[in-house]
């Protein structure tokens, strides 16, 4: 390979990321993207500062300021619970994408794995209603995690056996999950609720005993459930798995260079399957937590309009596939999504329907600049040169 010095390899990119200042790069890019987003706001005639202020307040992050008090404080708490609910799902799906990237696989299938997980959690949770509560919850979560793993494992298996490109197979699996899921909860589907004379395309609700415990906020108003701790635990599991286990070492070795890994005696094909299964387990768990934590039932529109798995790609990329990075970028995107939602954004400052799309633009800019580590390195070197000059 004559082009080693162009940093096209994963190893080269990681080294570059180190040289470009570790966390400084992603933080800078996020700030830069927000700045550019501000220009978009300006272009439409609104005030960027007050718009960002309103988004910030809508995300509930102002709860962290001790001087916010009274009704504003309880309002902020409700918003922050929303943000953290989204963060939970984004952390888990972000890990599903990250673990793939670390093995050199591009898992676009987080969405499908998430849907499969939520469907299975829904099925277990809404049937067997006489079961013991805690056992029921464990069963539902385990089923979702395992089926998510199995579903992603299909893509891994196809890549390992026939060499089918994982980008294609995971995209196809996404759509299969969307349509089969819609069929199951839709009109005449097996999981459809019979409460309204079976005329509404929405599933039955999971049994109240399976609801995850809400430890902060009102359970009726979608307070924050213990699923949040599942996500935090998953981050630890992810970090330990990758950095402290043989499997993690093999996974990263295959990600760096599959050929070299093969020479070193690592079963590359098997590692692909295992990696995809781990990814699917994370995403499936996310589906279960969302269903048991605050959704409780799924409609056809829920399944067809959910974007969690795709936003998770941005989360993984911005977080540079590291546990801590994934957490903070999930928090950022969770806050942006909540802050720009129709319900939370002050419509007098900025139109929420526009703001939702502004979030997408910012996401796009973030991912765009994060990918351009050469630009980052160039800026970094410029900085150093400036320092030498002074």
């Amino acid at each position: 390979m004559a082009e080693q010095d162009d940093a096209p390899t994963v190893a080269g990119r990681l080294a570059l990321a180190q040289r470009a200042g570790g966390a400084a790069g992603p933080v800078l890019t996020a700030v830069f993207a927000l700045l550019l987003g501000g220009f978009v706001v300006l272009a439409t005639g609104a005030n960027p500062l007050s718009t960002y202020r309103a988004i910030f307040d809508g995300s509930g992050l102002n709860w962290l300021f001790p001087w916010v008090s009274g009704s504003a404080r309880s309002f902020a708490a409700t918003n922050l619970q929303q943000t953290l609910l989204l963060t939970t799902a984004l952390v888990l799906c972000g890990l599903a994408v990250s673990v793939g990237f670390r093995c050199g696989l591009f898992n676009i299938g987080g969405q499908g794995q998430y849907i499969v997980g939520s469907i299975f959690a829904l099925w277990i949770g809404s049937s067997f209603v006489t079961m013991n509560g805690p056992l029921h919850v464990v069963l539902a979560i385990a089923a979702a995690t395992l089926t998510g793993a199995a579903y992603a494992g299909i893509a891994g298996l196809l890549k390992a056996i026939t060499g089918a490109h994982e980008v294609i197979s995971t995209i196809m699996l996404n759509w299969i999950a969307v349509w089969v899921g819609s069929w199951l909860v839709g009109q005449g589907g097996a999981l459809q609720s019979h409460a309204n004379g079976a005329s509404v395309p929405i599933s039955s609700a999971v049994a109240p005993a399976t609801h995850l415990h809400v430890f902060w906020g009102n359970p009726v108003l979608q307070g924050l459930d213990v699923g949040f701790f599942f996500a935090l635990a998953a981050l630890v599991v992810y970090a330990v798995l990758l950095n402290r286990t043989t499997l993690g070492f093999e996974l990263r070795a295959v990600g760096f260079n599959p050929e070299a890994a093969r020479y070193a005696g690592i079963a590359v094909a098997r590692t692909y399957v295992k990696t995809m299964a781990i990814a699917g387990a994370f995403a499936g768990l996310a589906g279960a937590i969302d269903v048991l934590g605050w959704e409780f039932q799924l409609g056809v529109t829920d399944i067809q309009t959910s974007q969690i798995g795709f936003i998770a790609i941005a989360v993984a990329v911005l977080g540079r596939n590291r546990a801590l990075g994934v957490f903070f970028s999930a928090l950022l995107f969770g806050a942006l999504l909540t802050g720009t939602s129709t319900r939370n954004l002050d419509a007098t400052v900025f139109r929420p329907d526009l703001a939702g799309n502004l979030t997408l633009i910012i996401q796009g800019l973030v991912v765009l600049f994060v990918g351009a580590d050469v630009l980052m390195l160039w800026l970094w070197n410029r900085r150093r040169r400036l320092r030498v000059a002074t």
Binding site: D6, P8, A164, I168, I176, W183, I361, V367, G371, A372
Partner: protein, 401 residues
């Protein structure tokens, strides 16, 4: 006589296991087809006989070393038998609802955006730039196509504006991929987010998210004289949209440009070995920029077809709904070759068209049938195509020395 048979090139061609395998697959399709209109054989004997012939051909190819193609043909024969026998059991009424000549027309309707998208992908990736942002470029074409057709009062303006928008977005991708040497998959993902945001933003800003005026100028259908009234062929190709014909032409032009002209040789050289291309004086950056921007314009054309082509001037948020990714899949399926990708797009278009008609058999499974194209593509990618070989330098940034 025997020496004649051995030396005869036609006979040698027929003995080739590859020919046998391909013939097997074709016969497998025919096995199913004889039981469908317009032939509609009602005895299960015919599909079984043809299917067995297909399976034998497949087996012979498989035993002579062409395992994947051979077993593919064998499976095609068996599937042909099953589907054919099922068709002889189903009522003629249902058959004539589902399998009409207009099924072919709607196959083209659904495959056209994919044809544009996959040709766009081929140009970009043959020059060495992975373009996962096809989806976004298509979406830009869909929205700005409607915008242009609305404000410019003409579908031609719409197409121009669409191609301009797609080209601009592709330029962003090209700059990050070529000059900044960013990871191209990450860059493409970013482009997709950007397009979703930009189109959504302006859709709400300019049209309030719904108010595209009725009666926007749309791309006309081509009504072929005479042919339009022929049996079978008339309903199938008699009045297709103009862009459908353009997409057919595009496949041939893409093949010709890439494989029969000096410029195509240069493009492929940049995708296979940019250093060597650079050494002989080819401007790798210029070729790549050109190809990526062209890719964006073609993808946008596919998007414009969605909104002001068969869409009749309507636009909905995130209108492309994953078609760019399917086009990407068609491109990989076709092994980065125009006709292969065209075949894949047709397969996908056909199964989508079929999925919309199958509810004649079971209304409650209508939603489930929507998954059919994706299942078929997954099986085809895994089973028949398998390990595809991308251009050697696909996705690798190139640095001039």
């Amino acid at each position: 006589m025997s020496t004649f048979a051995l030396d005869n090139p036609v006979w040698n061609r027929l003995r080739d296991p590859r020919t046998a395998g391909i013939a097997g697959i074709v016969l497998g399709v025919v096995a199913c087809f004889v039981a469908l209109p317009p032939i509609t054989a009602r005895s299960p004997l015919y599909p079984v006989l043809v299917g067995i012939a297909a399976a034998i051909l497949g087996l012979s190819a498989a035993l002579r070393g062409l395992r994947r193609l051979g077993w593919g043909a064998f499976a095609a024969g068996l599937i042909g038998i099953v589907l054919g026998v099922l068709a002889t059991r189903s009522s003629e009424g249902n058959l004539s609802i589902v399998f009409t000549a207009s099924l072919i027309a709607s196959m083209f309707v659904f495959s056209t955006p994919l044809v544009f998208g996959s040709m766009a992908g081929i140009f970009s990736e043959r020059s060495g730039v992975v373009n996962i942002g096809l989806e976004g470029m298509m979406l830009m074409g869909a929205f700005w196509g409607v915008y242009g057709a609305d404000k410019g009062k003409s579908w031609a303006v719409g197409i121009l504006v669409a191609m301009l928008a797609g080209g601009l977005l592709a330029l962003v991708h090209a700059y990050f991929a070529i000059h900044l040497r960013a990871d191209q998959i990450v860059g493409g993902t970013a482009v997709n987010f950007l397009a979703l945001g930009i189109t959504g933003y302006f859709f709400f800003q300019l049209y309030n998210g719904q108010d595209i005026p009725i009666g926007v100028s749309t791309i006309p259908d081509v009504h072929l004289p005479y042919i339009r009234h022929w049996k079978y062929i008339g309903p199938a190709i008699g009045s297709l949209n103009l862009l459908v014909w353009v997409s057919f032409a595009l496949v041939i032009v893409t093949w010709f440009v890439l494989f029969k002209t000096p410029i195509g040789l240069r493009i492929r050289a940049c995708g296979e070995h940019p250093r060597a291309a650079d050494t002989v004086g080819i401007n790798v950056y210029a070729i790549r920029y050109g190809c990526v921007v062209l890719s964006g314009m073609l993808a946008a054309l596919g998007g414009a077809y969605l909104s002001i082509g068969f869409g009749g001037g309507a636009y909905t948020d995130n209108m492309t709904a994953g078609r760019g990714f399917i086009a990407l899949a068609a491109m990989i399926f076709g092994n980065w070759r125009p006709f292969g990708a065209f075949g894949a797009a047709l397969l996908f278009g056909f199964s989508t068209a079929l999925a919309y008609r199958l509810p004649a058999y079971s209304g409650s499974a209508a939603t489930l049938f929507q998954a059919l194209p994706y299942v078929l593509t997954l099986i085809a990618v895994a089973g028949v195509v398998g390990r595809t070989v991308p251009p050697a330098a696909d996705g690798k940034p190139y640095k001039k020395q």
